[in-house]
């Protein structure tokens, strides 16, 4: 494991993401905003964005285990925290947050789950790292950093107190 971004750098990246989000939402005149993090790394980033953007609705947390497309191949994932969306999704402008955008399959699963709670007005995707290797037609609206890694190389966010990016 090699640390490629320390916690200080990551906090700066998140602050920049918050600025970009503010502009993004303002340009589109989006109000009535809620923020949802995908377990587990996405929740850590979403918590920080939630504070920085001073969002009124409580933070939403999504565990996409029941929406994965690899269930029949690898079965149930050991359970993490349950999903918790403590607000009405219907008509909200949602900011969806994840740590790493890789194949895009997690985002597909997350969107499917969000729509089972209601019909949001819009979904904005914010990710800390964009690997640029999507297998599905998703593009992040707000990106902390882009990173191209060789095949077999993985990047991982560790936390929750001090966030660091490591490769293995």
């Amino acid at each position: 494991m090699t640390v490629i971004k320390n916690s200080e750098t990551i906090e700066e990246m998140i602050a920049k993401m918050a600025m970009d989000l503010k502009i993004f939402l303002k340009e589109r005149e989006r109000k009535d905003i809620a923020i949802i993090g995908i377990h587990t790394g996405g929740v850590w980033i979403a918590e920080r964005l939630h504070n920085l953007l001073k969002i009124k609705e409580p933070l939403g947390e999504l565990n996409i285990a029941f929406y994965r497309d690899d269930f029949s191949r690898i079965g149930m994932h050991p359970s993490v925290e349950p999903s918790n969306l403590p607000f009405d999704v219907e008509g909200k402008h949602i900011i969806l947050v994840d740590d790493i955008l890789y194949t895009g399959r997690t985002i597909r699963a997350a969107l499917n789950e969000i729509f089972d709670y209601g019909r949001p007005a819009s979904v904005t995707l914010a990710v800390l790292v964009d690997r640029g290797e999507q297998e599905l037609p998703f593009k992040a609206d707000v990106v902390g950093t882009t990173m191209s890694l060789s095949a077999g190389e993985h990047v991982k966010l560790t936390g929750p107190k001090k966030l660091t990016l490591v490769t293995k």
């Binding site: 029941f66 149930m76 349950p82 219907e90």
Partner: protein, 324 residues
Amino acid sequence: MITAEKLPENIQVNKKGRLKHFLTTEGLSRQLLTEILDTAENFAGVGERAVKKVPLLRGKTIANLFFEPSTRTRTTFELAAKRLSADVLNINIESSATKKGESLQDTLQTLESMHCDMFVVRHANSGAAHFIASMVSPGIRVINAGDGRHAHPTQAMLDAFTIRRHRGRFSGLKIAIVGDIMHSRVARSEIHAFNTLGVKELRVIAPKTLIPAYMQALGVKVFHDLEAGLRGVDAVIMLRLQNERMQGTLLPSADEFFKMYGLTEERLAHADPEVMVLHPGPINRGVEIDSEVADGPRSVILEQVSYGIAIRMAVMSMCMGSAE
């Protein structure tokens, strides 16, 4: 070194120790039982959402094989399967081909040809679910929804789930099971589950004629006096007096039973002030439980029903998601 071949065969788990069939709580590890409870925790909120479904078992077919009548258990299994997006077949065997002389094996083979992926089995004979699990093709999963006097593992787990949701743990808890222990598959599954999950003290309370002799060997304290048995308990699980199973000689009458063992507010006062009252249903008001208790503030009977769906979703998805 212990190799896989030398370990005692357990049909319920695969080589990696993951749940494959769910037939009994007996012999399963604390880790596995806890995993069932944790997974159910994730499913507990699904019923409150706009879309009460997750796509986990989309494209799978689950057959409910009920050789014995049951409304509540069958309905909650059906709902659990549907909330997992599976297709469900309800087969009432009593009124089907077996009556025409078809053997069990032929019935199962017919259903396998229809590409069913899971059988949920309720049968009057002890061991029926094990028998079916040993007979089906390798890809098919079996869940026991009650077999004779032997086991009813999902009921035991939903009771455990209800208790954990209220108390958050099992250590330090005293739990009493009251009623017809002799004929109860629920009691047997509960005793194994609660022992494994590590409750402080497990009690059974019933007349001598309704307690099997081997109870003490299972580490259970036996009481014949209800008030003494209830003293200080954190949870009371009432069992239904099974009229249809009862031989005339075991009890004088239902009235007599209520006088001795019926749960009333007055008797419940001997338990812990925070006591929870559970009952697998359907309840016989005025036989094993007084209406005042069943509808009272200590009762969690209706919660049990909705938690039963979450537990069944957990078990179904865990079994279906485990490879050979």
